[in-house]
């Protein structure tokens, strides 16, 4: 049970974002800019960064949600699975491996990002903007993971829940749905 009173049909992050819409608005727009805005990193690559950080922070809700989003964008689930097992042997570019390593270091603490990790990324062709965005995406998911778990929000066990969430994130991005989330009430009852 969540530590504060949240709407029962909105598990995980959504209930929190609906609980306090005024703080949710900048969090949503920051995420939209970082994960869906113009970038030389693909949306799938950026979702992989979100996934590796959430996985490292052991946030089950965010890991499942962003794994599903990455898989949907990439059209397969092999990459995210193998990345979670081992970044070095994951089927991604060398540049992407270097960025994922930076994200994993940011997750521990900003100070843990070494010159070597940065030099490796630059050598593999990462631009300053790509490194900046990687660091900020990783930092943002350190916020999300703590927000979701720190208030003990509900983590649905059904994989279908995360696929539906991922479809929403792929189709609509991270901005609040114009019609809100009342239409999910029916789905939540059905899933139960």
């Amino acid at each position: 049970m969540p530590y504060i009173s949240l709407e029962a049909h909105l598990p995980g992050i959504t209930g929190l974002l609906e609980y306090r819409k005024d703080t949710a608005a900048p969090i949503r727009s920051l995420t939209q800019v970082l994960l869906r805005g113009p970038s030389t990193l693909s949306e799938g690559e950026r979702e992989l960064i979100a996934t590796i950080v959430s996985y490292g922070n052991e946030c089950k809700f965010c890991t499942a949600a962003h794994t599903a989003a990455a898989d949907t964008l990439l059209g397969e689930s092999n990459t995210s699975q193998r990345m979670k097992e081992n970044i070095v042997s994951a089927p991604v570019s060398e540049k992407m491996k270097a960025l994922l390593e930076i994200a994993a270091l940011v997750r521990q603490n900003g100070k843990n990002v070494t010159d070597e990790a940065i030099q490796k990324a630059k050598k593999e062709g990462a631009t300053d903007i790509e490194i900046h965005d990687t660091v900020l995406i990783a930092a943002l998911f350190c916020l999300y993971n703590r927000y979701v778990d720190g208030l003990a929000t509900v983590t649905p066990p059904q994989p279908e829940f995360y696929q539906a969430l991922a479809d929403r994130l792929v189709k609509h991005g991270y901005n609040r749905l114009p019609q809100g989330y009342d239409h999910l009430k029916k789905t939540a009852t059905e899933v139960k």
């Binding site: 900003g110 927000y147 720190g150």
Partner: protein, 182 residues
Amino acid sequence: MAHINLPDLPGIRGPMAFSPATAKPLNELAEMLLRNDNNSLSRGERELIGAYVSSLNDCFFCQNVHGALAGHYLNCGIPEIDAIKKDYASTDISDKMKSLLSIAASVQKGGKYVKKEQIEAAKKLGASDKEIHDTVLIAAAFCMFNRYVDGLATWAPEDRNYYVNRAPQRAEEGYIDFDLYK
């Protein structure tokens, strides 16, 4: 030297000037969480949570900026703020505030470290759902800000009075209507 080529500004102002599109929502979040007056936690109390979490994350720039702002709002100086950061339990802040700082410290370690007993203790001391929510979100937000500042290896003025001297102006201008270059 910073890890990437940033405008030569201290702390978070370098990456913010480098990336205005992300700076805007970051500053809007700080304004709503820390400075908006529609909140039963005072600005000083909220800045204190930010300073405390930043000290646990060992982020020199953030803990000094927000420690100085907390001191400005709470009418105290660096020694009092340092004492709270070092061992809040032995200071004379309210028991409710102590229970919120305990929650913030757990959030800093990881969301799962926040225990039901800590929440119950805070509620018993009068903390509302919204105050608990805001404490968790402020702590989580500083886990982001601190990583942004240190993850890019930004530089920070070493003289702690630099932050104290700037605090009144920062408090007045807030997080949205200020010039990153001043």
